[in-house]
């Protein structure tokens, strides 16, 4: 293996006749960092759903570490290292912050029969040490985002899928997240879906643009940002101020 972790060929998925994702080829190597941007309804979240096993592809094939994963259940994807942070937040609301992390880490650790990451260290990493005993339902939205990211780290990811990680974060927190993502990259590959172009710019990584279920551009953020076609797709015709 030349560090190739995930291989998807011709991935497609239609919902009621609309092609949410249409023929996407994707290869992710260990320690890649990739951002996917695109207007609403471009198929970004469906792509994450396909890669994380939450949605079975209508056609196309998906391999993880050389093993065929097409149509396997979601928990199998997680055990193989594809861990997802949901759009919005999705935590165990009735449990404490620390218990959320423990439960998140236990499943994979028990399956692989390895010790799980230290929940307190992860709490420190995402800045929730002070709220360890709070119920998850008592956290404000921004902190739940951090909890979600902490839960994803507890699953010992090889590929971390972040669905709109900066939504609801302050500018300062978004920068903190950028630094965390760069740190995480030393351990695993990261694929982020984002609306906030400022956030994507500060990640300064390879960026894909999706439009109507297809990947229409692949390149560095700097190239994408000056592409007139992309501006037209992303901001709509007649937009006067391009993002940055």
């Amino acid at each position: 293996m030349d560090g190739q972790f995930l291989q998807g060929t011709n991935l497609s998925r239609a919902f009621g006749g609309i092609n949410a994702v249409a023929g996407v080829d994707i290869n992710i190597r260990l320690r890649d960092l990739l951002c996917v941007i695109g207007p609403n309804g471009a198929g970004k979240s469906t792509l994450v759903g396909l890669l994380s096993g939450a949605i079975a592809p209508g056609s196309g094939e998906l391999y993880l570490d050389g093993e065929r994963m097409t149509g396997r259940p979601m928990h199998a994807f997680c055990r193989c290292g594809v861990v997802r942070k949901f759009q919005g937040t999705n935590t165990f609301l009735t449990m404490t912050v620390r218990d959320n992390l423990v439960v998140a880490g236990l499943g994979v650790a028990a399956y692989r029969a390895t010790p799980m990451p230290d929940p307190d260290a992860v709490l420190e990493e995402v800045g929730l040490s002070g709220q360890a005993r709070e119920l998850a339902s008592h956290l404000p939205h921004g902190e739940r985002q951090w909890l979600e990211i902490g839960m994803a780290i507890m699953c010992q990811p090889a590929l971390l899928l972040l669905d709109e990680p900066a939504a609801g974060l302050s500018a300062k927190d978004a920068q903190r997240l950028v630094r965390l993502i760069h740190r995480l990259r030393e351990r695993c590959a990261v694929l982020a879906i984002e609306h906030d172009l400022g956030f994507v710019q500060s990640l300064a990584c390879e960026t894909w643009v999706m439009h109507r279920g297809e990947v229409v551009r692949r390149g560095s953020y700097a190239e994408i940002a000056v592409d007139e076609e992309i501006r037209r797709i992303y901001l709509g015709r007649g937009a006067t101020h391009a993002a940055h």
């Binding site: 259940p73 928990h75 861990v83 949901f86 999705n90 165990f92 236990l106 399956y111 029969a113």
Partner: protein, 357 residues
Amino acid sequence: MSGKHAGCLRLWFSQPALGARDVLPLLMSAVAAAAVAIVPFFAGPWLLSAVRDALVMGILALSYDLLWGRAGVLTLGHTTFLGLGAYGFAVATVQFGQAPVTGLAAGVLCAAAVAAVIGYFLLFAGVRLHFFAIISLAVLIVAQQLAVSWQSVTGGDTGILGIPGLSFSAGGHALDLSGPRASWYTVSAVLLVATGLMWLVCRSRYGKVLGAIATNEWRAKACGYHTSFHLLLVFVASAALAAVAGVLMAACSGVVAPDVFSPLLATEVILWVAIGGRGRIGGPVVAAVTLTLLRQTVSSYSTDGWPLILGGLFLACVLFMPNGLRLDGRVWAALRAGRAIWSRPSAHRVGHAQEKR
């Protein structure tokens, strides 16, 4: 390989250190154990057998709390497994003349096997919530029909009479558990041990995982849990414990009739757990014992009154106490309120002192 499994078990079931939270359950279980040991010396035989039958229902409530309270699986037909346990024991001992130990094994295995088959096909197919509840009710009615119509084995409407009490014999020694006192101690020991085991499982990490699956199964799947498998495991364990209650019921009373499969009793089980508080150790058991004794009292005055009271209680529970009675929570709240009243005058004085200064 075995080392790996042992490590896995330790990961799942390692116990956290004892803390302030554990004082109340431990204290309560000590009190319960002491009470159970003393009661036979004071209570008459009638009262003893009435409370013993209520304790059997406590075991049933405990098994349902494991399923609904801990894992969030609502069923309307939990008494299917109580009945299967009772009939399994009765058929094996009376119809086939087997020893009570074989009857016990037959009852529990029968219920566990039925639960495993039904649970596999429903849970692994993603059947959840009210769909699962309705199908479980259908299974209960099928079981009831079978018990009524398969006369050669189940004895039809009359059921099976003359079921022997529990007794064990091994290596020339015989242990007879069929007398009033012996059966009392057997039932209460099973109840206490089962409660203790469930307490241990639920305060370990595995309990947290079950709680997580109950709150947000989708998220648990995304954390790498094969949630259907865990739910099936709990379903089978719960059915086996309900079957143990069924065996004890048949062995203590000596009869089993198709009314063990009645939907009314299945509803009562839900009510016990709802009133006692879902997922609260001891609560459902206390509610089950109290309400069963209440039912016995009410039924001696009027046979129609009980379903009416039951319906009223259910309504009141849903409207006013969606989380159950939570006696311990109320005690803490009362203590806190008491402390607040106690400390108010002194706060007042401090205020005055500051003003003077």
